[in-house]
């Protein structure tokens, strides 16, 4: 892409992410852990490569990444370890790739989770986003494939979306390296606590279930006062998720 100036912002030193240093596979001594989650085929691996300078192979088919890949970058004197998770549509069932993704967000306790979504298929992608927001407080929505959305005449009001989701939203076209500087800066601000997220919690739940969830969630909070996702754990317990029951017993949540 040509280097023409599209907005006044691009002349600002902040904008160009001067402090970015791609560290490749050198993931030692990091300050923050960042997870990269999202539906299959939304460009997670491309975002991963853009941030770390690695060349993880990307392919235009769902299911390309089946194991998690790790890389690192440095920004503003902080070192970030970036973990690319397998793409999944949901975290509610238990196939191997979904489990890898879910376990990392739940037990790996990343400092920030970047949720990569396909801008032209936002509604379908939100299914996973809403589930992740039940698990973690600190997330950034990476509205990727903006070039395709534009081509398909899809317009997204990012501010409304950010307000509704309660997390920052950054539009990107990772294939063309667009929006990556803003993404890094936002991730940094969430990691360092400059931006406090107030993530959306699932609302349209029948009263009967909501009551049960509230009751269970309160009990969980009593036992584990520090965890942010008691409500999600309540969901899983009501589902009878054996992995979560085991984690409760072993105290993995603490």
């Amino acid at each position: 892409m040509e280097n023409k100036v599209n907005s006044a912002c691009e002349t600002c030193p902040q904008y160009n992410a001067k402090g970015l240093k791609k560290l490749g596979v050198h993931t030692g001594n990091f300050d923050y852990v960042v997870a990269l989650a999202g539906n299959p085929n939304t460009g997670k691996s491309t975002v991963f490569n853009a941030l770390t300078g690695l060349r993880q192979h990307t392919g235009n088919w769902p299911g390309k990444t089946v194991v998690r890949a790790e890389g690192a970058f440095e920004y503003d004197n902080s070192k970030f370890k970036l973990v690319d998770l397998p793409g999944t549509y949901s975290l509610l069932s238990t196939s191997q790739d979904e489990e890898v993704a879910r376990d990392f967000i739940l037990f790996g306790k990343p400092d920030v989770t970047i949720i990569v979504v396909d801008a032209s298929r936002l509604e379908r992608n939100l299914n996973l986003v809403l589930q992740i927001l039940e698990i973690t407080d600190k997330a950034v929505l990476c509205l990727n494939l903006m070039d395709e959305a534009k081509r398909n005449n899809v317009k997204i009001d990012e501010r409304t979306l950010a307000r509704d989701l309660g997390i920052p939203v950054v539009p990107t076209s990772a294939r063309f390296n667009k929006g990556i500087p803003e993404l890094i800066q936002t991730v940094n601000e969430v990691a360092s606590g400059k931006i406090i997220c107030k993530p959306h919690r699932i609302k349209n739940v029948p009263k009967k279930i909501e009551d049960a969830v509230a009751k269970l969630s309160a009990e969980i909070k009593k036992q584990f006062p520090t965890i942010p996702n008691s409500r999600w754990i309540a969901f899983r317990l009501l589902e009878g998720d054996a992995r979560i029951i085991k984690a409760l017993k072993t105290g993995e949540f603490v």
Binding site: N41, R55, H57, T58, G59, N60, W61, P62, G63, V66, V67, P86, Y89, L92, S93, S95, Q96, D97, L122, E123, L126, N127, L130, Q131, E148, N153, V154, K155, I156, D157, E158, T160, L161, D164, L165, R175, H200, I202, K203, N204, V205, P206, K208, I209, A212, K215, L216, E219, I220, K222, Q223, F235, L237, L238, E239, G240, I245, L248, K249, G251
Partner: protein, 471 residues
């Protein structure tokens, strides 16, 4: 710790679960969808929703159509193979000229000058070096063409369409539709294909995909197919058709592999791996113009060099073994000659010979070295001069000379056809076997995946040989 409290929690959750009833999962899913639709309605708008020309769906309606889907698939495969076969010739000749005709004599000279003992010189330079050099000269050019082409196709978004086309067949055979994707990966490398089966959720269907991945002709076997087809199949038709004939033969073998994959999947689901076919959503991603230079660069670095390195790592010790068994004598016969004589009878039954069978034993670590091993052993048995002596791998200067040597070794068209069949149907290479073990964690299934194709290979080549000899 507060174990009792945790137990209480779990009891409470089961009580509540009983109270809610079994609509919990669905209600929650519905709730999430409702939220998602509210949020997206508030922020997404679509300009002029009018039906406008959509290139994506236009292409899709052609490449996934009932009539054109399969012909287009084979056409694309043929085109890629054609470019690979034709394009690889020149760099291959240059590399073999450099590594085999120039560097090899030079190394021999150096060894002689520093007074290296003959056995060490033979072992290192004629054994290890030649094996490695052959693999580089023969494998690198086709891989450097095939992988980038395949990756471009992948980045463009064609693979999910292949899966879409074949889904019906997979369903029929009781396997998972995503197996089409892992199968395609297998055409590059079976070990990679086996790892890729992780995208299949159900363990039963994943196991089927793992066991049958070996029926995808992998990169180590394409050169064997291409060379043998060129020498023997191309020779039986008028020379103006020989390229087309040999290419068709190779594609025929690849399709036969797909057929065997379906057959085996079907047989497994009817016997030991019974179960329901699970449904899944396959997203057809939009076509994306590949970023050509970047793709070529990364596929060269990530795929070609990694596969090549693996081949070299395995070829080196194999070259050493070949040299050793040809130069260690029991009585007045070398181990190689002794084994070949022993295997010849069985080989004849299969329409093959002892040389080929021994070559396949030596080449378990890497399929790439089958042809050079066969040539070397043939020289040893027939006593034809032209090679470089016992246990020395070589590549004959022209394809014709290779053909002459093999015919002198008693090869016929039947031998060639059966070698191509056996190259498709035999045990996976050791890397793939190890990968299967790591993925399944089961000695039993690893054994099945290893033994099953070789049994099928024996049966098929045996039948072909018997029927062939009737006429």
């Amino acid at each position: 710790m507060k174990k009792d409290e945790i137990e209480k929690l779990i009891t409470l959750s089961s009580d509540l679960r009983w109270k809610i009833g079994d609509e919990f999962h669905d209600s929650l899913a519905e709730g999430i969808y409702a939220d998602a639709s509210e949020i997206s309605n508030a922020s997404v708008s679509r300009a002029n929703e009018k039906k406008k020309f959509r290139l994506d769906s236009k292409i899709d309606s052609i490449v996934t159509s009932k009539t054109w889907g399969f012909p287009i698939m084979f056409l694309i495969l043929a085109l890629i193979l054609w470019i690979t076969i034709v394009g690889a010739n020149y760099p291959s000749a240059m590399l073999s000229n450099l590594l085999l005709d120039n560097v090899h004599p030079f190394l021999k000279e150096v060894a002689a000058n520093i007074g290296m003992p003959w056995w060490l010189d033979g072992f290192l330079i004629d054994g290890v070096y030649l094996a490695v050099a052959w693999v580089v000269a023969v494998m690198l050019p086709p891989m450097a063409i095939f992988f980038p082409l395949f990756t471009l196709l992948e980045d463009f978004g064609y693979l999910p369409r292949v899966a879409f086309n074949m889904d019906y067949l997979f369903k029929k055979s009781g396997a998972h539709g995503k197996q089409a994707l892992t199968m395609s990966m297998g055409f590059g490398c079976n070990a990679a294909g086996v790892v890729a089966t992780r995208i299949i959720d159900s363990p039963r269907e994943r196991l089927i995909a793992i066991i049958t991945n070996n029926f995808s002709l992998c990169n180590g076997r394409w050169p064997t197919q291409i060379l043998i087809a060129t020498i023997f199949i191309g020779a039986v038709v008028p020379s103006s058709f020989s390229a087309v004939a040999s290419m068709s033969a190779v594609i025929g073998i690849a399709i036969l592999g797909i057929f065997f994959m379906f057959l085996t999947s079907w047989a497994l689901t009817k016997t030991v791996l019974k179960g329901e076919v699970s449904t899944f959503n396959l997203e057809l991603p939009p076509y994306r113009p590949p970023r050509v230079l970047k793709t070529i660069y990364t596929s060269l670095i990530d795929r070609t060099l990694i596969v090549l390195w693996r081949a070299i790592v395995f070829a080196a010790p194999a070259g050493a073994v070949i040299w050793l068994i040809s130069n260690i004598y029991i009585g007045n016969e070398s181990i190689a000659a002794w084994t070949i004589n022993f295997l010849d009878g069985f080989g004849f039954l299969l329409g093959l010979n002892g040389v080929i069978l021994l070559a396949y034993i030596v080449a378990i670590p890497a399929n790439e070295i089958v042809i050079p091993t066969i040539l070397m052993l043939t020289v040893l048995v027939t006593g034809v001069t032209g090679g470089e002596g016992a246990g020395v791998m070589f590549e004959l200067d022209s394809v014709n000379a290779t053909g002459d040597l093999l015919r002198a070794g008693g090869w016929t068209l039947l031998t060639a056809v059966n070698l191509m069949l056996f190259s498709l149907l035999h045990n996976p290479c050791s890397t793939t076997i190890y990968t299967i073990y790591k993925e399944t964690n089961s000695l039993k299934w690893t054994t099945v995946a290893t033994i099953l194709p070789i049994i099928m290979g024996f049966i098929v080549t045996f039948l072909v040989a018997q029927i062939w000899r009737l006429f």
